[in-house]
Symmetry: D2
Subunit: 135 residues, 4 copies
């Protein structure tokens, strides 16, 4: 299984803050998805093409995030993404979110995905893509 | 042209606030869209069916919002939606957002829509739907 | 401990869909927060007042969602919210999301909250509010 | 008045798409805000510090966006931001959104801001910041 950890960075937007003065917690799931997109690209394929050309989707079946310290507007965050578990029908990604300036770990998370077609029916990940997960 | 004004209400979510302690300004465009959806339903059809069954889309070509007073978490808002202008290829909706408790006008806005198919090609709104706009 | 289950309903917005044609998974965390807000109101207090008047915040420490079936634009959802565990410094809410028309269970979830002040320092939930959780 | 145009780029997130398969129109306002943040940084100050240290806010009074062509998931966009008009109490920013790969202009927009304190009262932009707008 691929043990590649891919790092991507993003800056917290004003739109992502809430009245507590910190990044709203649901945004971390969207940031995880940014991490997945970049994991795919760094590993050798684009998630966009997999959807468009193969009709293969990684449907989110479960998402979990543990929040350790807040992210704030204009902070640059590092999203570290790796594959925690891989089967041809079930993929688990793991994430760490860090503050780039301080190195502090802000959150950890995990998302579980089933492989489906556009209608949501279970599929097996084609060899063309599974090779990237097998490493 | 239909002169029906449709009112719908919604409560400001924590997710919609920003660190200024007020509802983030981009949310008003999503609220306008809630207003359009309810305008359609109240007038006699559902926007969902028009997309799914007819392949007709009201693509946003222009959006404008003027902000007069802030909305805050847990405020109940009234969205008043009406049609400002109607042609079979171009529809303009107008909106007012009010605080339900105080009656204060918080924002006004307008969105302009072209009628398209799923690929974004210009279409003419079928009679089945145009009759609702013609009033 | 309170065993009250509070139901609230909401309609999926176009803004909440993604290109898979279903509600984007991060929105469920925002819907859970709508559920919490209404749990508080139904139980006897408002989360807004607790923040504004007491300076007490329920900081999200952990969030988890399991997705069983998709929600789609214009679907009406029922959010069922209850308290899974209560201590004066740590509160766990549990959620079920159902499609109102079909009764189908779409998702289940849980959020864990620490009680803090505005600066994020741990606090103990004042008696004024803890009574509602103790039931 | 400053005639500096600042370019920043961002990649369209899956979270930002809708069921039409394109970026949801309200996201452009959040992207404009990313553009403003980077305009400030490139010009010599940070919006974050202006809020935190001076208690000065640029409240959105009006926002307008004209959509010319859709943005899609994984597209890299260029946001060009400049100041269209500057007075010490009223600032107008202008934006262009382009597809980086094709160079196509996707949208243009404008946001008007009043200068306020944290409570929303009108202020005059302090010399410390106005010099950056005066160019």
């Amino acid at each position: 299984m691929s043990n590649q950890t891919v790092e991507t960075s993003l800056r917290v937007r004003y739109a992502e803050t809430d009245q507590m003065g910190i990044a709203y917690h649901a945004n971390y799931l969207a940031w995880f998805e940014v991490g997945r997109t970049e994991w795919c690209r760094a590993t050798g394929f684009t998630y966009r093409d997999m959807e468009q050309h193969e009709g293969i989707y990684l449907m989110v079946a479960d998402a979990q995030c543990r929040y350790k310290a807040p992210a704030r507007y204009d902070d640059v965050l590092i999203i570290k993404t790796k594959v925690n578990s891989f089967k041809k029908r079930l993929i688990v990604f793991g994430y760490e979110v860090l503050n780039r300036a301080s190195g502090q770990l802000l959150a950890t998370g995990e998302t579980t995905h089933t492989v489906t077609d556009a209608e949501g029916h279970l599929r097996s990940l084609p060899e063309k893509y599974s090779k990237f997960f097998e490493g």
